[in-house]
Structures are given as structure tokens and as C-alpha cells.
């Protein structure tokens, strides 16, 4: 059933935003300085808003899920299809910014394609989100330059973050079975088309920021299949705690 597949695809997109939003939300009150703390949580709220739109659409089309809350809070680990990159821990500020930047570059390119989708509601979500994500990329890209070209220590830290997170970038631009199928229907972009441009943009920014490119050794590409990192269970237990402990509670 096409409807069920569009629902599953919309959940996959929602998962990317929800999980990254949850990670950034953890920084609320813990940011490096007050101004950046607020900036990070602003981005978290943008992402959370996007996740809601995707989940609302998914719930409307779904035979399995009744509403957005059920999708966000009551699935098991393997039912989440986000890329592993977005679930990686906040670490230090360098880790947070590199994770954000690597996702933002992809995210903006992706949304620019999704707004050509023939599924009208996904197209509308893309059009709304683009404005938000353009700012996210502006923010994280700016910090990549500041940290990369800042002090010796800041350069070392951001280099360490890039080395750690680099293997998780491939998954962003590799289609899962579902995404390939959705592309066949003209609903989803072909992620392979984004790959060259993605790495070109990232590499040119890193060069400018005096960050060395890591070697391509291995890639983590299992998240979209529901196989996540060891960090993910902890993230979900935070995220789901309230709904699991007090089922059907309302804000």
C-alpha cells in the first residue's frame, strides 16, 4: 500500500529531526554560554516542530499509529529510522557543532529537493522548514570557522570531532530501500544525487576552517534500518520516560 509507505517515509524524516532536536534539547541550561545555549535550543525547537509535522502526516496515513505522540514516544529502538549521526552524544561544544554542521549541509540540500516532491504535504513541510534550516546552517557553519581558525586548542577539539563523526556522514546520502522506492514514485529525492555536492561543500568549508579531512575508512549506514549506536537506548529512555510512566498523560 502506497499510503503506508508514505507514512513510513514521513516517519523516517520525522525521526531525523526529532532525535537531533532531543539531543540539542539536552543542552537547555547547559550551553557553553547563555547566548549559545538559547541558540541551540531555538534550533532544537525548530527541529521538534518539523518532526511534529512529519509525524502528523504519518499518523493521518497510517493504519498502525493513531497520533503523533504514539509515533514519537511509543516505538521501540529498532522502529526508529534516523541516521546514526543525529543520535551521537553532544560531547563537547566542538562535537555538537560538527554534528550539527554535517547534518545541516545535508538537511538544506535535501529539503531543497523535497520541495519538488509530488506529495503535496511533504512539499509543504519542506517549504516551511527550509527557512529554519538555512539559519541552522549559517549558525553551525559560522562556528566551524570560528573553532577551526580559533586557538590551537579549539582547532584540536574540532579536528577530533570531525575525525569521530566523519564515518557517519555516508549514511545521510545513501538511500535505504524505502527511500529508493519513494524516489521511484517521485515522492523522495534521490540521495545519491546529493552526494558529490554534499562532500564538495563540506570539504571546502573544512579547508577554509583549517580542518584536515579524515580518511574514508569505514561507514556507519545502519540507522535507517533501525540498527543504532549504543547511545540510542539512553536517549530514548529520556525521551520516552514520561509517556511510558504515565501513559496518555497530556501536557
Amino acid at each position: 500500500m502506497l499510503k503506508q509507505k508514505i507514512s513510513a517515509y514521513s516517519i523516517l524524516l520525522g525521526d531525523q529531526s526529532l532525535i537531533l532536536g532531543q539531543r540539542l534539547g539536552e543542552l537547555c541550561g547547559h550551553g557553553p554560554i547563555l547566548e549559545v545555549d538559547i541558540a541551540m535550543t531555538n534550533i532544537a525547537l525548530d527541529l521538534l516542530g518539523q518532526a511534529r509535522l512529519y509525524y502528523q502526516l504519518a499518523a493521518e496515513l497510517s493504519d498502525t499509529y493513531e497520533d503523533e505522540d504514539q509515533i514519537a514516544f511509543l516505538r521501540r529502538e529498532k522502529d526508529y529510522n534516523n541516521c546514526v549521526l543525529v543520535e551521537m552524544p553532544n560531547g563537547d561544544f566542538g562535537d555538537t557543532i560538527v554534528r550539527q554542521y554535517l547534518f545541516d549541509v545535508y538537511h538544506l540540500m535535501f529539503l531543497n529537493q523535497l520541495k519538488e516532491s509530488n506529495e503535496k504535504r511533504l512539499k509543504a513541510i519542506a517549504e516551511k522548514s527550509i527557512k529554519e534550516v538555512r539559519y541552522h546552517l549559517n549558525f553551525s557553519g559560522d562556528w566551524i570557522l570560528r573553532l577551526g581558525k580559533g586557538t590551537e586548542v579549539s582547532n584540536q577539539k574540532i579536528q577530533k570531532a570531525v575525525d569521530t563523526l566523519w564515518p557517519y556522514t555516508k549514511e545521510l546520502v545513501q538511500s535505504s530501500e524505502l527511500e529508493t522506492e519513494m524516489h521511484g514514485f517521485g515522492i523522495a529525492p534521490n540521495l545519491a544525487d546529493l552526494e558529490d555536492e554534499y562532500y564538495r561543500q563540506v570539504k571546502s568549508k573544512f579547508a577554509e576552517a583549517e580542518i584536515k579531512l579524515p580518511e574514508d575508512k569505514w561507514s556507519q549506514i545502519q540507522g535507517k534500518k533501525g540498527l543504532h549506536s549504543e547511545h540510542f537506548g539512553y536517549l530514548l529512555s529520556d525521551l520516552q520516560y514520561l509517556q511510558r510512566s504515565y501513559p496518555n498523560s497530556k501536557w
Binding site: I33, L34, E35, V36, I38, A39, N42, Y135, N138, F139, D142, R146, T151, V153
Partner: protein, 95 residues
């Protein structure tokens, strides 16, 4: 490594219906670009503004509070500077 606070900046916003920029508050930032980003993130979260000005606080010239007597009091007994001594025609409203 020397630990220093980033400089302080003052933020001015013009709201959608506002005619001029109004002081909104202050923040810390390393340079003007970051100050503008931070101002956007800290002071326009609830649609407060459509235009932002930032200026490093040290660039604002303020009067010396200890001299406020000579600065402001000479104006306080010159009520004729307010246009309250004209007789207005009854037909004129809203003035």
C-alpha cells in the same frame, strides 16, 4: 590560555509596527556577526522585531550621572517650552 569574557553589545529592535529602533537589552559576542546572530536568537524569539541593530557597548557615549543636575535641571522650570499655552479651536480633535 588567557580567559576573557567576550565584549558586551547593546541590542536595538524595530518591531513590525514600530517606527524606530528601541533598546532591547545586551549580550556578549566575540564580533559583530556573532552579536547579530545572538541578538536574533536571544531577543527575537517571539516575533519582537523585523530589524536589529547591535553596537558594542563601549562605543556608546553616555552622559556622566554625577553631572545630571547641570545637564537636566535647567530645563525643569521652563514649562513654556511645552506647547500648552495655545488655545485650540474646539473643532480640532486628537491633538
Amino acid at each position: 590560555m588567557e580567559k576573557k569574557n567576550w565584549p558586551l553589545w547593546e541590542v536595538f529592535l524595530r518591531s513590525r509596527s514600530g517606527l524606530h529602533h528601541v533598546h532591547a537589552g545586551s549580550l556578549h559576542a566575540a564580533d559583530s556577526e556573532m552579536a547579530l546572530n545572538n541578538a536574533r536568537d536571544v531577543y527575537t524569539r517571539r516575533n519582537e522585531g523585523v530589524s536589529i541593530w547591535v553596537i558594542e557597548s563601549k562605543n556608546i557615549i553616555a552622559n556622566d550621572p554625577s553631572e545630571s543636575e547641570s545637564f537636566f535641571e535647567p530645563a525643569s522650570d521652563k514649562i513654556y517650552r511645552h506647547p500648552t499655552f495655545y488655545e485650540m479651536p474646539n473643532e480640532l480633535k486628537h491633538i
